[in-house]
């Protein structure tokens, strides 16, 4: 791992697709970048997705090379498993305090062999598979993780030393503690991504208690060839799913849970997942219950038509409640809009809630940039400077400013990097040049 320097031109918060792109675009212009990621691997949400819409390309096949390029770029220093404690304005730049979390593994020595995980006698719900799969108490975050370094979870450690005994490089270090890292940077790009609304937000949809009502990101893992099941099975008993329902706007456009806005990607991922379910098993019925289908991007309308041609049922309806039957099938009480509001009970064996997109990180005063009421970072001039936060020198990209799809997040990351480069050119680089010439800026 590269040693952390005391000074960088740019700090990028978040190692998802937007953060990686912003880092690459800023570093590509000759600036030194520190990329900070709170998880043990970069890749964000995208590396866990099965396919991307509307091309149905393999998501990790696109994301993984970008991860490798980011990690190996000579001007990018990657600092994973690290949290931001404080970013404070100081002169033209910022003083940054980071906390590097202990992995209990010496990063430089770990060869990613997984022998520690195989030796571990404890199983834990795997975060990468949204709990549907298992991992050891010590584990490599996932097969495509970068860095490919193990992390020990003290919550699932029984202190028997099995991992240390199995490690061929003697890299398990039980003495590690959280480590404070202080750096000075000239500009900040915030690309902290997304989370989805909690499964228990809507009591009428089971409140997270029905095993066969799923999170859409968990369904991405279920559909992935390297996912927890390898097939589209229902979590209650491993039955092959034969009738799958999607409930749209199950956490968006809903003032009752504080998410009044449209999450922008749910219609498209529901159509995409529906197609992929058909590709797993053509006979499986897929029904999407929606208020309206929003297919606004390049090639999206054609993708919607394709989904219908592949047999996806798209039903304009509002789902009032979901109840679980004795055999753990699910009955959806729906109001069928195109049938004059007729109320019907529809039975399925698996249901996916198209949950709302919410901010992946809340600054809570740690960054001197403001957020809007919805928690997303405020943009100073929405129509003309969409990558500029409310503060000079702090730029924003991807879902940190609001829900968006992958192409839009990448475009915005490029814009943020360009804005940051121009800012650095006006302030930081000029100051460095003057200091270098013996003239205080």
């Amino acid at each position: 791992m590269a040693k952390i320097k005391e000074r960088y031109d740019g700090l990028v918060l978040g190692g998802g697709i937007a953060g990686m792109q912003a880092s690459l675009d800023l570093a590509g212009q000759g600036y030194d970048v520190l990329l900070v990621e709170k998880e043990p691997s970069i890749g964000g949400v995208m590396v866990g997705l099965n396919k991307v819409f509307p091309t149905l390309d393999c998501s990790s096949c696109i994301c993984t090379p970008r991860m490798a390029e980011t990690a190996h770029h000579e001007r990018i220093t990657l600092q994973a498993y690290t949290e931001v404690e404080e970013i404070r304005r100081e002169g033209d730049g910022f003083r940054v305090k980071l906390i590097k979390k202990p992995r209990y593994v010496v990063e430089e020595d770990c060869i990613g062999c997984s022998k520690c995980e195989l030796a571990c006698t404890i199983l834990a719900p795997h975060e990468f598979d949204y709990g549907l799969g298992a991992r050891g108490g010590i584990y490599i975050p996932h097969g495509n993780a970068i860095p490919q370094v193990a992390v020990l979870d003290p919550n699932y450690c029984i202190f028997d030393g099995a991992c240390a005994r199995a490690c061929p490089t003697d890299c398990i270090d039980f003495t590690q503690l959280p480590e404070e890292v202080n750096v000075e940077v000239g500009a900040v790009i915030i690309a902290t991504g997304l989370k989805v609304t909690p499964m228990n937000a809507k009591k009428e949809y089971g409140g997270g208690k029905h095993l066969n009502v799923m999170n859409p990101l968990a369904m991405e893992r279920v559909q992935s060839s390297n996912g927890p099941y390898g097939h589209v099975l229902r979590p209650s008993d491993g039955k092959i799913a034969k009738s799958v329902a999607y409930v749209q706007c199950a956490g968006s456009r809903d003032k009752s849970i504080g998410v009044p806005y449209c999450s922008r990607v749910c219609c498209m991922y529901a159509l995409k997942q529906g197609i992929m379910i058909k590709h797993h098993r053509h006979e499986t019925e897929v029904t999407i219950y929606h208020m309206d289908i929003r297919a606004f991007g390049k090639g999206y309308e054609q993708f919607y038509r394709r989904a219908m041609a592949e047999g996806i049922r798209v039903v304009k309806a509002k789902v009032a409640r979901i109840t679980e039957e004795a055999n753990q099938d699910l009955t959806l009480r729906v109001e069928l809009i195109d049938e004059g509001g007729r109320v019907a009970d529809m039975r399925h064996d698996l249901v996916v809630l198209s949950l709302g997109t919410i901010p992946g990180w809340r600054p809570n005063g740690r960054v001197p940039a403001e957020t809007d009421d919805d928690g997303f970072f405020r943009i100073r001039e929405v129509t003309t400077r969409p990558a500029n936060s409310s503060r000079d020198g702090i730029f924003v990209a991807g879902v940190a400013t609001g829900p968006k799809d992958i192409p839009d997040a990448i475009v915005e990351a490029g814009a943020a990097a360009m804005e940051a480069a121009m800012y650095l050119d006006r302030t930081w680089s000029r100051r460095a040049a003057l200091v270098g010439a013996g003239v205080e800026a």
Binding site: Y104, V106, E108, D109, L118, T121, I122, L123, L132, G133, A134, P154, C157, I158, F159, G161, A164, T169, D170, C171, I172, D173, F174, T175, L211, P228, Y229, G230, H231, L233, P235, S236, D237, G238, K239, I240, K242
Partner: protein, 97 residues
Amino acid sequence: MSEAKRNWREDVKVFRERMGGLTEEKKAMSKDQRDTTKAIQGALKGGPRTVPEISAETKIPSHKVLWYIMAMKRFGKVAEAGQAGDYFRYELKEASS
């Protein structure tokens, strides 16, 4: 590689104390995992089974059986062995049987 050899046996004792010791909750979790794995392996010694069949034989809830089967599959102890109706069958791999 770091030069000094780590004394992990001593380090893990200190780590254990720092993390609040081996709690009753963790002991129970560890025992339950061992017992569940053993029961599922026992059922599979009778030949390939579906999740509901293992659940009926072991009295372990079917969602829990599925989770353990997928964990055992991931760690190379179990493999798929065809289908029975709407369910896949699973069998022990030779090395772990």
